[in-house]
């Protein structure tokens, strides 16, 4: 049996390991909950006082209102700091009763502490975990208290024959057990009550586990599906990227190399011809054609994925791109120590290349500028020109394709292109 709910419905429940697992789960619950519960109850105290005042028909003292507000503020400010790690422990502990993995609904944690706080406090998952923390520390102890009392009575009944001898007696409510006969009956009742008690314990543990799974897990099916779609899109992009790299490598290491070698041979053959040979003219033509082909192939390979990008990284590749452009292009890029992830570099280069291509083709610009901002977290690339502006993403330009490509890398593309006011293409690519 894989988890506690189906196990509860089987006949062999009592003979299985599940009652013992439930017991272990509950014992560890006490260990984990006790320190946190102390604080929770302290915060709940003003509310309990108010409740009891209202029940007695009197209005609470205004001090108490103040304390109620303070407790809520403290809870909201600091609660998540406790609830998030507590939830992490609870998700692992859930494995005692349910082997299905509980995935956290949190987004991946940024390393910067400020960014971490900002992200966590804005996530619904955090506040669900806080709610769990309150249930775990306020409701669970009450339920467990009842369970402990019942277990105490059960133990008393079972052990009655040991104690209800001679002058001593066991007092259970209004019932007194003081004869061996009564003690025997009591222990029989105790024996009969063991199975219901085991079911009760299992049920409480199962209910607690279900609450934990509901509040601590990632239950949003839609967002789960969307995430999966996003992941699969990212995988596809990666696969395309790998394919481009392979083609580039094959062309470079194979075709380009052979062609250079062939052209070299043709160049040497030219020199070996005697002056005035009828073969000179066709051989010269062949040599020139081979040289043209070298240029063409080099441009093709460069367009697929420039070698400088792989060898030296984005910033040198952008400078090279700028040098190749027919208009003056200023590159403002930091000298990086750590390079951005490969797919980010490739996407950014691709955007810069396409955007500069558009500048050359459509913008009639005098100058263009490529700027990179890279702080280790997000990479921002801006390409701007002083040309005609008025770029229309719906008019079948490459802009839509660019935006798709950027989106697949988890980033976004922004365009500002007022007629007559130049064009600015900005992409923001997350590197986490």
């Amino acid at each position: 049996m894989s988890s506690i709910w189906p196990a509860l419905r089987t006949r062999r429940f009592l003979l299985s390991s599940w009652p013992w697992r439930s017991l272990l789960y509950m014992v560890t619950t006490v260990i984990v909950a006790a320190p946190v519960a102390a604080v929770s109850w302290l915060l709940a105290l003003p509310w309990l006082v108010t409740l009891s005042d209202l029940r007695n028909g009197q209005l609470p003292h205004y001090h108490n209102y103040l304390l109620m507000v303070v407790s809520v503020v403290v809870l909201a400010l600091f609660g998540p700091l406790v609830a998030v790690p507590l939830a992490a422990i609870e998700r692992r502990r859930l494995g005692l009763l349910d082997p299905r993995e509980v995935r956290s609904a949190h987004r991946p944690a940024p390393s910067d502490p400020i960014a971490w706080l900002r992200l966590r406090y804005s996530e619904a998952a955090t506040w669900r975990e806080l709610l769990y923390g309150l249930l775990f520390t306020l409701v669970v102890p009450v339920v467990y208290g009842v369970l402990v009392v019942i277990t105490g009575i059960e133990l008393a009944l079972l052990t009655a024959p040991l104690f209800a001898v001679g002058s001593s007696a066991i007092q259970l409510g209004s019932m007194t057990i003081d004869t061996p006969g009564e003690a025997a009956i009591a222990s029989v009742i105790g024996l009969v009550l063991i199975p219901p008690l085991a079911y009760l314990g299992g049920g409480v543990a199962a209910a607690q586990a279900a609450a934990a799974r509901a509040l601590l897990g990632d239950n949003d099916r839609t967002s789960g599906a969307l995430r999966e779609v996003a992941r699969s899109r990212a995988r596809l992009v990666d696969a395309f990227e790998a394919e481009r790299r392979r083609i580039q490598r094959d062309l470079h290491d194979g075709a380009q190399h052979q062609l250079t070698s062939l052209t070299l041979q043709l160049g040497m053959a030219r020199l070996d011809l005697p002056a005035g040979s009828p073969a000179a003219e066709p051989l010269n033509r062949a040599h020139d054609q081979a040289k043209d082909l070298m240029v063409m192939l080099r441009d093709i390979v460069h367009g697929i994925r420039p070698q400088v990008l792989g060898d030296l990284g984005l910033m040198p590749a952008l400078r090279e791109l700028a040098d190749r452009a027919p208009l003056p292009v200023m590159v403002i890029a930091p000298d990086v120590v750590t390079r951005p992830p490969e797919h980010v570099e490739t996407t950014a280069w691709f955007v810069a290349s396409e955007a500069l291509g558009n500048v050359t083709k459509h913008a009639a610009a005098q100058h263009a500028e490529v700027r990179v901002i890279w702080d280790g977290e997000d990479l921002i690339l801006e390409v701007r020109d002083d040309g005609a502006g008025g770029a229309d993403p719906t008019a079948g330009s490459g802009l839509t394709g660019l935006a798709d490509r950027v989106a697949a890398a988890g980033g976004r593309l922004l365009l500002a292109s007022p007629p007559g006011g130049g064009t600015l293409v900005r992409v923001e690519l997350p590197c986490r």
Binding site: D253, H257, Q258, T260, S261, T263, L264, Q265, L266, G267, M268, R270, L271, H287, A290, K291, M294, V295, R298, H302, P306, Q307, V308, D311, L312, P316, E320, D323, P328, M330, I332, H367, D386
Partner: protein
């Protein structure tokens, strides 16, 4: 006496092609190797008159050949070295020029080898202590260092003119009706476009103003 050459190129076909070419033009290839490590030991073993090496080679397939060349030139500053590059990278050229006396070095695009006579002339020149830089590199450098002020946008030129008149950032902000932060950004761009890197010992604003005053048409 033929020029004794050590040749390093990881592509077998091209290496053989080059060796054939060199042999035809009265060079003698004393060692032809396929990676940067072998290059260094071959040079130590044969003491050649000229080293020709590809930049991108094993073991790391990045700029291994260039690093080997720099290493060789550091221990033997007068050893003539020609490096062949797949693409133009000025840093490569300047790294090489910074070694030894800067003489007896060549930086050529790999594609140049097919223009056999020009290539051989370049090799002879380097072997004789000359310096050969690929025309493409020169073209790009010239392209880039045209009047640096032309790189500034209209607004940046305006800001620079006001700096030259001695205004502070906040005064400029007031005059142009923009925020002081915006002016700060313009100033940063100006300094960066004029190739004035952050440094503590020079006043970059002054250098920027000098560039402005030296240009043909200060407004």
């Amino acid at each position: 006496m033929p020029v004794r050459v050590v040749l390093a190129e990881d592509g077998v076909l091209l290496r053989e092609g080059l060796a054939g070419l060199l042999g035809r033009f009265d060079f003698s290839v004393v060692a032809a190797v396929g990676d940067a490590v072998a290059l260094v030991s071959a040079v130590a073993a044969t003491t050649p008159d000229l080293v020709i090496t590809d930049i991108r080679m094993p073991p790391e397939h990045t700029d291994d050949g260039l690093r080997a060349a720099v290493q060789l030139r550091t221990s033997q500053p007068s050893l003539p070295v020609v490096v062949l590059s797949q693409y133009v990278q000025e840093e490569y050229a300047s790294t090489l020029l910074d070694t030894g006396t800067g003489r007896g070095v060549g930086y050529l695009l790999k594609d140049r080898v097919v223009d056999v006579e020009d290539f051989v002339a370049a090799l002879r020149s380097v072997a004789a202590g000359g310096t050969v830089i690929d025309p493409e590199v020169v073209r790009r450098l010239l392209n880039r260092s045209r009047d640096p002020l032309s790189r500034l946008s209209a607004r940046e030129t305006e800001v620079l003119a006001l700096i030259a008149e001695g205004h502070s950032n906040s005064a400029i902000a007031g005059r142009l009706f923009v925020s002081e932060a915006a002016v700060g950004k313009h100033v940063g761009n100006i300094l960066s476009k004029l190739d004035l890197p952050p440094a503590e010992d020079t006043n970059r604003r002054v250098l920027a103003v000098l560039a402005y005053l030296r240009s043909d048409n200060p407004r």
